[in-house]
């Protein structure tokens, strides 16, 4: 019951914060557009007034792309050098807005206010950034120890890659995914605590994240699993739709743009739902205590 209550309350809170979600969506679109639009210009210049683009109407054609020659090299250079920068910027921007979003999902937040949202973003930014790097590092080290090491040792053993490696790989991957749910819970509880604490403190928040996760493991873990499964299925659906939809007209491409951006908005909304649900669970636990 507690799980369902938290999930439903989280959904209501996230819908209430739709403006915050809209802001995050807008800035992510802006950031990616700043990166991709120059690329589009380079590709257009590469093709010039050629008719060869008709071969791309049905999808990717390696021969056509490869014939871009020096343009392709410049394009690849731009993409690979810019990709990591834009991803880094994306992380910074999302971390920045997460503070505002968490703050707006508290029960005490009341009506959504844009200025209040941005103030919270600024106030919690460094805490949230630290939290992001700390939890990401933990996930990375855990993945290395739990997945990388056993699989690597199996591959290195005399038999080479084979069925044993496959079984070890699948088993450790399942363990890793379960552990990732725990790490996400820690991060979410910690951030929910930060925005509700009168005196935010980084390590205190992290400690709270761990203690809250494991003291209410029976309710928090299944809830996070449900949220993770829903989010993963939705992300998979988005990928399938974007990948398989190949419009051949200008109108079709515009429709693709609208639909895909709506789906991205929904994906951010789902994340807000997760934040809201965890916040709700934390508040409920505190009331129980």
């Amino acid at each position: 019951m507690k799980i369902l209550r938290s999930l439903s309350s989280g959904a209501v809170r996230s819908l209430r914060s739709w403006k915050g979600v809209l802001i995050i969506w807008f800035f992510s679109l802006l950031l990616m557009s700043l990166f991709v639009i120059p690329m589009k210009g380079m590709v257009r210049a590469g093709f010039g007034n050629s008719m060869i683009t008709e071969r791309l109407l049905d999808g990717l054609d390696i021969e056509v792309i490869s014939d871009l020659g020096p343009f392709l090299k410049s394009l690849a250079s731009y993409f690979f050098s810019g990709f990591f920068f834009v991803i880094f910027m994306g992380i910074i921007v999302n971390t920045f807005f997460a503070g505002g979003l968490f703050n707006s999902l508290k029960s005490s937040s009341g009506k959504f206010s844009v200025s209040y949202f941005f103030r919270a973003c600024a106030r919690y930014f460094w805490y949230f950034l630290g939290m992001y790097f700390m939890i990401t590092l933990m996930i990375f080290v855990f993945a290395l120890l739990v997945v990388g090491l056993p699989v690597g040792l199996t591959v290195q053993s005399g038999t080479g890659p084979g069925p044993v490696t496959y079984i070890v790989g699948i088993t450790t991957l399942v363990i890793f995914l379960a552990a990732e749910a725990v790490f996400l819970l820690v991060a979410d509880f910690a951030r929910a605590w930060l925005v509700s604490a009168e005196k935010p403190a980084f390590f205190k928040a992290l400690g709270f994240g761990f203690s809250e996760t494991f003291s209410r493991f029976g309710s928090s873990f299944p809830m996070m699993l449900i949220l993770m499964i829903i989010q993963s299925l939705f992300a998979w659906l988005v990928i399938i739709i974007i990948r398989s939809w190949i419009p051949g007209t200008g109108e079709g491409v515009f429709l693709l743009f609208l639909v895909s951006q709506f789906l991205i908005f929904m994906k951010i909304l789902l994340k807000a739902w997760r934040y809201g649900s965890v916040t709700c669970l934390m508040e409920e636990n505190n009331i129980t205590n």
């Binding site: 992510s28 990166f35 683009t53 014939d67 743009f257």
Partner: protein, 656 residues
């Protein structure tokens, strides 16, 4: 009691008789100028093959020959000073057990005369004194025309640990280039050779082989638990003792004999028309058995139909295990090795490509036994051309190499791009000895460029003429040693016979540019202009009726400007489309540096395409082959939109 010479002579007579008897093929397919009879033992502990070899070479020329020359290729793995390792810059390994070599313990002629004092290693290619891969033996008595030279050798071959086509790894053995093998004695005139002599090259990093068609009787003794595959037919098998077994193989009219032994092989058999096919692979790849058989049967069917019949009733192929991957992708006519991995997705056609390619060598090296040292394109290039055709025919015109729902790559695209996108595709022509290709261009030039210009040739003369060329090439040169010039002559004959003088007196102009030239081919549409011309009525300014009709009656002078950027001149089609729907197909000989086509009376030009069907695969850039004043931006916009959305999604997923 018979004396020793008489016994030797009698033995040789029996041996020669057995090699000339018909056990596999109803009639000899080749002249069988050489033959080999082995009785060897594989010592799995010391990684050696030891035993005896009886062999003959027939002097089928009109000249007296003073010596014989033998390939001793296992000595390439003897030290880092061999030509192979000098060219690669590596070493065969630090430990002595890593090295490979071949020792002749004794060598006698038909009279039992010891030939070892007459042996010397020579290095005809690079004069490297440390290379011992070619052995010259001065004959005690010169071989007169028609003479048969018999030799008997006791030898020991140590296999190298780093498998480079041959060697061992653990219990896996691939035994190739393992015995003293005759070079090819070429009389003057053969392959346009000025003077007679042995063609017996050293073992090089970037080279394959050249041999006469021979008959092999091979008796191999090895531990019972080993599974053996070879290029021969299994004639006999019996237990040598409680732990050992002896297998006897026979192969006829093939250019090399190799074999493999590994306890882990699983054996599968299938049949295609008259050919019994055997496949050996590791247990982890049993799921790929059907894929492998389909590939080899498709290749058999396609090459039989378009080139000529596969003459042997047996064929064995190996998919080596991961530990023996270095033996993969090699051909020994009736034995070849494929390439795969334990987990190979269905959409990735690498195993099929490797199988089709390596099988194809049975034709373009096995039957049409060109000299791979001196003209590697004749085997690798022609064979790649046929591999591409087979893959794209059976696995999809656009998906011969990769067949994913949203990414398809044809084998011909893969081949063309390897050539056209290479940074050094102009440094050397295709007409070069294999080890002389500079800057790592051997593979790109001998495989990909040759296959690409063969495709371009097919684009000019048509598919059926191309097939007829290869049928004639097969009829004229099967079980002989054709040269590149011989192939060109066949092309000239067939094209002339089918098309007359349509392409000129001969096709040498094509080969001079592609095979013997270093230029690139690149055509482009540089501009389209649509200039409105005032009509007669427009000139009558005071005529109000004419003014009304002016726009309708005005005609356009439409001009297409074409340019040849590259050096290579090939005939190309030019398709011009007008806004009113008219289409005009021009045939440009492609010779001039620039060419303008002017049109009146068709209205505005909508677009122009040079080589609209992309038949000229030599063209290094298809993008500039067409032009329109209204390019379709939809694919680029779609790509940008999708990239934006997917990157947004990615950011959303990776941020906590």
């Amino acid at each position: 009691m018979m004396n020793r010479k008489a016994v030797s002579f009698f033995t040789l007579l029996v041996f020669a008789g057995s090699l000339h008897s018909q056990i596999i093929n109803p009639k000899p397919l080749s002249h069988r100028l050489t033959g080999y009879n082995f009785d060897v033992k594989l010592d799995t502990a010391t990684k050696t093959v030891t035993g005896t070899m009886e062999a003959f070479w027939i002097n089928n020329t009109s000249e007296v020959v003073q010596d014989i020359q033998l390939h001793m290729y296992m000595n390439a793995f003897k030290s880092r000073n061999s030509t192979l390792y000098k060219e690669s810059g590596r070493s065969p390994g630090k430990k002595r057990s890593d090295q490979g070599w071949i020792n002749i313990i004794s060598l006698t002629d038909r009279n039992g005369t010891d030939l070892t004092p007459l042996m010397q290693y020579i290095s005809p290619d690079d004069a490297n004194p440390s290379d011992s891969t070619v052995l010259q033996v001065i004959l005690p008595e010169a071989a007169n025309p028609g003479d048969t030279v018999f030799i008997r050798a006791d030898f020991e071959t140590k296999l190298p640990s780093r498998i480079r086509r041959t060697g061992f790894c653990g219990e896996f053995f691939f035994v190739a280039q393992w015995f003293p093998k005759f070079g090819v004695y070429e009389p003057a005139g053969m392959r346009q050779r000025a003077q007679s002599g042995w063609n017996c090259h050293q073992f090089h990093l970037d080279s394959e082989f050249y041999s006469d068609h021979s008959v092999y009787d091979v008796k191999i003794t090895l531990p019972k638990r080993y599974v053996v595959g070879s290029g021969g037919m299994l004639i006999n098998e019996y237990a040598a003792d409680s732990n050992l077994k002896t297998l006897t193989f026979r192969a006829e009219d093939i250019v090399d004999f190799a074999w493999t032994a590994w306890p882990g092989y699983k054996v599968f058999t299938d049949q295609w028309e008259h050919v019994s096919i055997t496949l050996l692979l590791p247990e982890a790849r049993v799921k790929q058995v059907d894929r492998q058989f389909i590939a080899v049967k498709n290749a058999l069917e396609y090459l039989t139909k378009n080139v000529g019949p596969f003459p042997w009733p047996h064929l064995t192929f190996i998919d080596p295990p991961t530990i023996g991957a270095g033996a993969g992708g090699m051909e020994y006519t009736t034995l070849f090795t494929s390439v795969s991995a334990d987990r190979m997705p269905e959409w990735m056609h690498l195993p099929e490509m490797a199988t089709v390619h390596e099988f194809g060598h049975a034709y373009f090296m096995g039957i049409l036994a060109s000299n791979e040292f001196e003209e590697p394109w004749m085997d690798e290039g022609i064979n790649s051309f046929w591999e591409v055709r087979i893959m794209d025919h059976y696995w999809g015109e656009n998906s011969g190499a990769v067949d994913l729902p949203y990414l398809k790559i044809s084998d011909k695209t893969f081949t063309r791009l390897t050539y056209t996108r290479s940074d050094n595709n102009q440094v050397i022509s295709n007409n070069e000895y294999s080890w002389n290709y500079p800057h790592g261009t051997y593979g790109m030039m001998s495989y990909n460029k040759a296959a690409t210009w063969l495709y371009a040739l097919m684009g000019i003369i048509g598919e059926e003429t191309t097939n007829e060329i290869f049928r004639e090439y097969y009829r004229e040169w099967a079980f002989k040693h054709p040269s590149g010039k011989d192939f060109v002559n066949v092309v000239n004959e067939v094209v002339k016979k089918i098309h007359g003088d349509k392409y000129g007196a001969d096709m040498n102009w094509f080969f001079d540019q592609t095979l013997y030239g270093t230029g690139i081919c690149d055509y482009r549409v540089s501009n389209i202009t649509n200039r409105k011309l005032p009509s007669e009525k427009e000139k009558q300014e005071n005529d109000s009726l004419s003014k009304d009709l002016a726009s309708k009656d005005s005609i356009y002078k439409a001009v297409v400007q074409l340019e040849r950027i590259g050096e290579v001149m090939l005939p190309v089609d030019v398709l011009v489309r007008f806004e009113n729907g008219d289409e005009i197909l021009e045939n440009w000989d492609g010779k001039a540096r620039y060419k303008d086509y002017t049109y009146l009376g068709h209205g505005k030009i909508k677009w122009v395409k040079i080589d609209p069907e992309y038949k000229n695969k030599m063209d290094v850039n298809f993008i500039n082959n067409s032009r329109t004043n209204d390019p379709d931006r939809v694919p680029v916009r779609r790509f940008a939109d999708k990239l934006i959305s997917l990157m947004q999604l990615y950011i959303s997923v990776i941020t906590l």
